[in-house]
Symmetry: C2
Subunit: 328 residues, 2 copies
């Protein structure tokens, strides 16, 4: 099924008359059980479910106003019309033009530290959809908004919520059941931190790495089973606020995702020497009784998972750490 048809289904009952301006904020998110592999590339339908934590006030503020031409200002900088970010954003916005000469002026500001290795497409597309909701005064559920955001960027489906979020894989061809929902869990002591080991541009983008892994890596065949095993354990650990169970399973899930990439030919390896050094330090801390666990996304940086009580011991080893309280 194509994207335009799905979006038409969702918006069928909505008014086509926009206000002048819609503005919204969406947080970035980090997956504790990873989204890795698509069953439908056009609709960004995932092979498996996934589970994330939204990053509170680290995310993207976006406002969209009706204009006589498309334009994007990103973090204060007007982007050239032929920039690939423009192409991706406006081909998504094409689906929301309710009149022939309707154009969008988009202004977007990120509160994610530059080079923190936090995906900006998730908060970016979620904020875009939430701003469109304001602009067109849609009366859509959060689940429907997560479906729209997902068609911009898969993990954006999870960024329409705060806190802990589960994105269900779904089974339908149109993906209307591939929705994210809030788990409604409060865990004030939970922390996640970003250790930037490299802010050099990635040698291979995460979408390419994902699609190559699905196509080339024999090990990917185990991934659906790995996620089916990990996801309920991770969800339950969140309900139980059990950092040991959560951390062990989330770490295994993340490293297994990287493992599937090593099976590509040639291998896709996001590990840098500094990545291994950081992982070894985390494992050494654990041996010393400090409950801290690693997760990683499609890049060399390491994210640390822990509770606030462990913060001081961890900062001793990683003084440069950016610590995030998702419930702040």
């Amino acid at each position: 099924m194509n994207k335009a048809a799905v979006i038409q289904k969702i918006l069928a009952a909505e008014s086509a008359a926009p206000l002048e301006l819609g503005a919204a904020y969406a947080p970035a998110n980090i997956a504790l059980c990873k989204y890795w592999g698509k069953r439908d590339i056009e609709l960004n339908l995932p092979v498996t479910g996934s589970l994330s934590v939204s990053l509170g006030d680290m995310g993207t503020h976006t406002q969209i106003s009706i204009s006589d031409r498309d334009s994007l200002i990103l973090d204060g900088t007007p982007m050239p019309a032929d920039h690939k970010i423009n192409a991706r954003l406006f081909s998504f916005l094409d689906h929301f033009r309710t009149a022939a000469n309707l154009y969008f002026a988009v202004e977007s500001n990120s509160t994610v530290p530059i080079g923190a290795g936090l995906a900006s497409s998730a908060s970016g597309f979620a904020a875009t959809v939430l701003a469109l909701k304001e602009l067109f005064q849609w009366e859509l559920s959060n689940e429907k908004l997560s479906v729209l955001a997902r068609m911009g960027s898969g993990s954006a489906s999870r960024s329409v919520y705060n806190g802990f979020v589960e994105w269900h894989a779904g089974v339908e061809d149109d993906g209307l059941d591939s929705v994210a929902e809030s788990l409604n869990i409060q865990w004030p002591e939970f922390r996640i931190a970003v250790l930037t080991v490299s802010d050099a541009p990635k040698k291979i983008g995460s979408t390419e790495a994902m699609n190559r892994t699905v196509g080339e890596s024999v090990l990917y065949e185990s991934w659906p089973k790995k996620t089916a095993h990990d996801l309920p354990i991770i969800r339950q650990a969140l309900y139980d606020k059990d950092i040991s169970a959560l951390g062990a399973q989330a770490e295994s899930n993340a490293l297994s995702m990287h493992a599937t990439m090593l099976g590509c030919i040639p291998p896709v390896c996001y590990f840098e020497p500094e990545t291994i050094d950081a992982l070894q330090k985390i494992w050494a801390l654990r041996k010393d009784g400090v409950e801290v666990y690693a997760t990683m996304d499609a890049g060399p940086n390491v994210k640390l998972i822990f509770e606030s009580a462990a913060q001081e011991d961890i900062l001793d080893v990683f003084p440069e750490l950016k610590i995030i309280n998702p419930h702040k």
Copy 2:
């Protein structure tokens, strides 16, 4: 089936009267398609077939003589009776005592550079079996000798031959069809080299890593399929003397083996920062047109696969490399 019964089957027609002394040499070997996971732990029967290259004059010289007590001299040093190497060797030799008061004095000398990260159990047990053949004047085929060596250490089955060797997984309970055979391939330009990135003792032994991976890692479920895919490609590349095809597949096979370990809980990670640095240099050389590929065993060191013509370019980047010509 137990080890004693299988050994009895093999030796049924052999004489029990030993000479005074038997001596033999067996090379170490490096797998190009890895042995990873046992279907029978007592008999060292593998889940999959594997394929290796023997390392010419790098290996183990062993002589065994009849004595009034068991003793082992390893590289000139008499080993204490309670050392774990003695325990492992003499519990294996228990199966070959043809009289009540028959003991073995074993002297073993390795020509493998210390700290090169080359498994000594493969050449050690192969040389032991070949020395027993001389001692007892067995009239056994090489295949049968590979079965005996395999019951000492899995990969020893491949060390009873020089050159390129395939070890068939077999399907029988007694493992008499789990034999190694020489592929009879001459490839004089083929080189393998060892880059020692760490000679610190391993944090986890390879047998424990293997057994934990089989038991804990969901990703291991893909390993038999990965090997079924890789092994015929690697074998054909050897027949074709096609370094590109061989290298790409052997590298993918080795990294996929490490990938399966990352799925353990907690992860088993033999990568050191220096391992990643070496892999990145190999991949950079390849980008520059130098045909060099990596393989790794259950440890942090990296082995390089190439043809002699590439040797100079590779030494420019890795001056400390120990280069082995297996056909020398």
